[in-house]
Subunit: 297 residues, 2 copies
Amino acid sequence: MFNGLSAFPLTPMNETGVDEQAFTRLVENLVLANVSSIGALGSTGSYAYLSRTERQRVAQIAVECAGEIPVMVSIGAVRTRDVLDLAEDAQQVGVKALLLPPMSYQKLTDEDVYSLYQAVTSNISVPLCVYDNPGTTHFEFNDELHGRIAHLPWVGSIKIPGVSVVPDEAKARVDRLRAVIPKHVTIGVSGDTLAATGLNAGCEAWYSVMGGLFPNTAKIMTDTALTGNAAEATRLSRRLEPLWALFRDCGGSLRVIATAAELRQFTTTPSLPLPLRTFTGETRQRIAAVIDELELS
Amino acid sequence: MFNGLSAFPLTPMNETGVDEQAFTRLVENLVLANVSSIGALGSTGSYAYLSRTERQRVAQIAVECAGEIPVMVSIGAVRTRDVLDLAEDAQQVGVKALLLPPMSYQKLTDEDVYSLYQAVTSNISVPLCVYDNPGTTHFEFNDELHGRIAHLPWVGSIKIPGVSVVPDEAKARVDRLRAVIPKHVTIGVSGDTLAATGLNAGCEAWYSVMGGLFPNTAKIMTDTALTGNAAEATRLSRRLEPLWALFRDCGGSLRVIATAAELRQFTTTPSLPLPLRTFTGETRQRIAAVIDELELS
């Protein structure tokens, strides 16, 4: 399941709870686009802002709506005890894979992180994707650690952060990681702005934020890259430059995509957990203009 | 209450729960030393690793044991909704103040953080200390934002991170902050290694990690600095250099102090929430040697 477009939907919510109807609409949109997998409750799905009960409920809805499409959910928490509980909850409702970020409060050592993955993989019975995103976890993996973790049972993929903008450097980076992990473990790129570069460099999956809202646009780019048409994939990504510019200018992808979901009426305002908020005013207008001009779907 | 030595005890725990007896011993030790206030459930008290129920229970024990000494607890959480619940829980059990870190998962803007403090201070009826520690919250305050927040009702203190090692620069930093906040709001230094420099530079409080385990040693240094004997406070801090070196060499203060608490038999191993662990082997021996040589108490 760790190949192709893995689409990460938002979890729309307000201060009273999760908007289950809106979440269902978002997942149904991904099913219609026939994405390869659904990454519910990722960073884009605001897993870190939800209670254990809410996380299990959202996972359940995702599994029910997704039909044949496999669902992965994040089981991230700062404490190993809680990660183990979340893994149990998620498997109970039928997720096909788990996504584990080494979420931190106190700074973690390599041995802390290895012991976390060891404890979790000793206690699960579905595949696991290693989530490497220093921007949210504040933990920096090195390849030696990736290699050790990738040899643990149940590890099926590594979600890496954005690669270099230079194709040769991106390929060298992916090759370096590939050299230390088993063959059955796939590498998936995240950081939408450099997804085409990552796929062209040999990543087998795109763990995609924009794909969680605009799966058709994201799927064409993914399939184009994975069938070997690197130049066309690059062209399709360059066409999306106004969206990537928004991600760069507006503090990342989450608030932009959440605003876009409101604009396209998948969700209602507010849709993010306070203190996070979607954009108003000029930035909102700019987002509206970009998603319309690019005909994202 | 935001003056003098504010001692931050550990919350000893293992995978089955909080060791309430050990926590009680730690708080009683602070009461015997007659610290100015007790900062339970700070970063040192591992608030971020505990459930809502556990946090209220720990706050309750702290208040019960502390007698006349005021207790402050952290109400940090990434979501405003949870912060408000935690504030309510803490006030119910009789804490005298709240400590609020702008804990983050997604990167926060100044406006997000201001709105968080605004929401919280509109809903509490005890004083609040602003917790500025980019190392754990991953949010960087600027003085303009500190000034705006310090003018909100109930704000009584700002806990700032380590100041410059150069006394004049430390004083300039404290003066700059003082210029934008109301007179009744105190400034307290954290980062034990530069506490004496901070107190000598005009901070009114030391929010202290080592003071949570070795309150007598910390109190002498605090009182010396606050009565104006800067040279003697500096000498006392320099004497503790082997402890500061441990904090620098061992990834911060928490694991060192937690190991020291085990060595002094306040707690039993394990005492930190996995994936965090105390030190074994040579580092543990070095910690044992330092706390004995320095006669910390």
